[in-house]
Symmetry: C2
Subunit: 436 residues, 2 copies
């Protein structure tokens, strides 16, 4: 398997570079910007996720002999471009919203300053990472709200591409989930992993009782027993009989949960298992979780809906050329007029305006070459991510993932109450462009 990420790229990025080299325009100094024109699903805010992962992938974005040979064999680009690719590593600057930051329509989430060729070549990879990871984080953050403080675990690996699953576990964790079922996500990003047994384990054994006994023998009485393979109430009875009232938890993976959870709680209490927790895992999304707010659920396991963005599987971010350096050193704004896809050119400096009580009330995007200082009521949103080709190490790996999770908690705590409504509607705060 190849470890270079360089061919995770749309062919047209390379053919554009090829033509631009021939024309002498490939080395123009440019600004590219990642933003979303809208929040898919008419949500109230988004959560930026994927940035740390993207930085690592940019580090590995190199054209080795295998990549060059394939491009040569397939006549994708000419010799001059092949030579340039052989020497490619990103040497420009990237700044943007810190991972875990909340965002709104037109928030300039990532800005890339580099030559045209050096910047445009990262478009596909940057969007793949940010669109998927942020789609998951956008869904996950709503589930965290709906869970009103109860812990959530991500267990949707089987409903996502096997590598997407690892990214999804990370994005959900950044958005406030507490654990994942995915072992690779544990290894790669330091995320706590969880899980005990599936229906297959019960079916394998001669009886539910034998299966429970086998699990308890190995994992102890603090484990979680899955009680709905045959009959839930009989399963609960067997579970407590085998494990005793010290059983850690039971898991429900089917049925009409609001009713069932209440019945099972009463049954557990009547059996003296007042400390045994109830975790539920049956096709949950933010709405199903909200419906269970008044039920005695202790924790949630979420699968399909979180890894597929709960109806919005891509965050609709785009990567646009927004400025080109003029001869006098100033940025010349660039924007297209395409119907429904117009963009706003120029260099931008985003700020979040906060009320005296620290509540966000406006996304302010200053347009102009000179970045203004943040006013007292503003929080500056850009952080440097890559400076002259050097990646900011603190955003990488498990430490970077943990930092993003912390930052998301802080950023979300600034949001007005309206941001947490699950219904469709406008962004929680308006985005305002402040021109030069």
């Amino acid at each position: 398997m190849n470890t270079s990420t360089a061919l995770h790229t749309d062919r047209y990025e390379l053919t554009m570079i090829d033509a631009a080299f021939a024309r002498g325009t490939a080395t123009e100094h440019c600004l590219f910007e990642v933003f979303a024109r809208r929040l898919p699903g008419a949500r109230r805010y988004g959560v930026v996720a994927g940035t740390g992962r993207l930085l690592e992938l940019i580090r590995d974005f190199r054209f080795g002999e295998s990549e060059l040979q394939w491009l040569r064999d397939n006549n994708v680009v000419g010799t001059e471009t092949l030579d340039w690719l052989a020497d490619y590593r990103f040497r420009g600057n990237i700044w943007g919203y810190q991972e875990g930051e909340v965002y709104f329509p037109n928030s300039p989430i990532l800005t890339v300053e580099a030559s045209f060729a050096e910047g445009v070549i990262l478009e596909t990879l940057a969007l793949s990472v940010l669109n998927y990871d942020s789609a998951v984080a956008n869904a996950a953050t709503r589930m965290v709200t709906a869970a009103i403080g109860r812990p959530l675990s991500e267990m949707g690996s089987r409903r996502a591409n096997e590598e997407a699953a690892v990214a999804a576990a990370r994005a959900a964790y950044i958005a406030g989930f507490g654990a994942t079922s995915n072992l690779e996500a544990g290894r790669r990003w330091g995320i706590p992993t969880m899980g005990t047994a599936a229906h297959a384990f019960t079916l394998l054994h001669a009886s539910e009782e034998e299966a429970f006994q086998a699990q308890i023998d190995k994992l102890g009485t603090k484990t979680t027993l899955l009680v709905d393979t045959y009959d839930v109430h009989q399963g609960v009875e067997t579970a407590i009989r085998v494990a005793g009232p010290e059983l850690g938890a039971i898991r429900l993976d089917s049925g009409d949960l609001p009713t069932l959870v209440t019945e099972v709680r009463a049954q557990l209490d009547s059996l003296g298992a007042t400390g045994t927790k109830i975790t539920v895992t049956n096709d949950l999304d933010e709405h199903a979780i909200a419906t269970l707010a008044a039920s005695p659920v202790d924790s949630y396991g979420v699968g399909t809906s979180v890894v597929t963005g709960s109806g919005s599987p891509a965050a609709s971010m785009v990567y646009k050329l927004v400025a080109r350096r003029g001869e006098d050193g100033s940025w010349i704004p660039l924007a297209k007029n395409s119907e429904g896809k117009a963009s706003i050119g120029g260099k931008k400096t985003p700020m979040r305006r906060l009320s005296a009580s620290g509540r966000a009330n406006q996304e302010r995007i200053y347009i102009g070459d000179t970045a203004p200082e943040a006013e007292a009521s503003e929080r500056a949103l850009n952080v440097p991510l890559i400076v002259d080709g050097v990646i900011e190490e603190r955003y990488l790996g498990a430490a970077g993932t943990a930092l993003a999770r912390e930052h998301r908690a802080t950023a979300v705590s600034e949001l007005p109450a309206g941001a947490f409504r699950l219904g469709r509607g406008d962004a929680a705060i308006p985005t305002v462009f402040i021109g030069n």
Copy 2:
């Protein structure tokens, strides 16, 4: 980067194995089955995709020192299980629907025969691959139908996780797309790649005319020019002025396509560019493509909707333990009763019944230890994929991908007309279990 796929696994697969080893049940001879209870999106049929990819990932499913150390450090399983994992490679049998085959609710797409431990450990990976790849193929095959023979290209890499994007390109190709924008998919799976230029290329240059000239200088007049950066009709005029009436194609990526395409066709014809083709790429899905059936479109580029399964981003396949070998050597059917998730136990042999004219009219699933011979009116659906741990090579790599694409064309050609309706409804043919 680690190349082992072994930790693309839910933690509970390993804890189940750990408990089963302690109980002495891990070595029970078992049958696991992959199937979907329903076709998400109320579609009429599905297309199996991912099988060839899964076989390669199973080949790489080995626990090296890095994986074992992480499991040890995190106390996931005990010593006996670690020793067993160190020696793990799949030594059992896998058979199933040939990749590219169409499927219906409860079609047993994949069957795994192995010890409990050896089979259950593949659950997460198998479902990740089959659920995502088939979700893409399920959407793509409908787009192919809607395109009434016009070529389709997949260009959604930026709207999917970077590795999912490669898998999506492959699944769309199997389902009948002709090319992809994704270079890695070209390298890894031999899929034709396509693409010329984006809006950024036009914006980079002093004028649209200069951009077009630069592209033509490098890529020739048979290239595709993107004409909607500023004003479409002016863009078309400029394109033909610069390229001449021999221009290969123009691309439209915005606007109200049915109207615009007709106008642009007339404009091209009036400029003498009667051979210049029109390709459209603006947020297409199967319904938008169908709407363009009467418009003079020559080809389609599809992004977001194909890589996200057009509303159904996971195929809802499950991996269930369906039988355990009894002491007399017969299969003991196993099934759970969980509400809404009941399964049907036993070994199964699937056949597709065809009319005298070769039209599919029933999915017949024979339950029983002895696989029946196909009747004259039946086509047997299972093929061996792994025999005693040895993978069938012909399903791997670019050759396997091409074979799957051919098989999909054949399988789809057997379907009744009702299968091609885009509206929601029942499966095109009923699935019938024939018991023993």
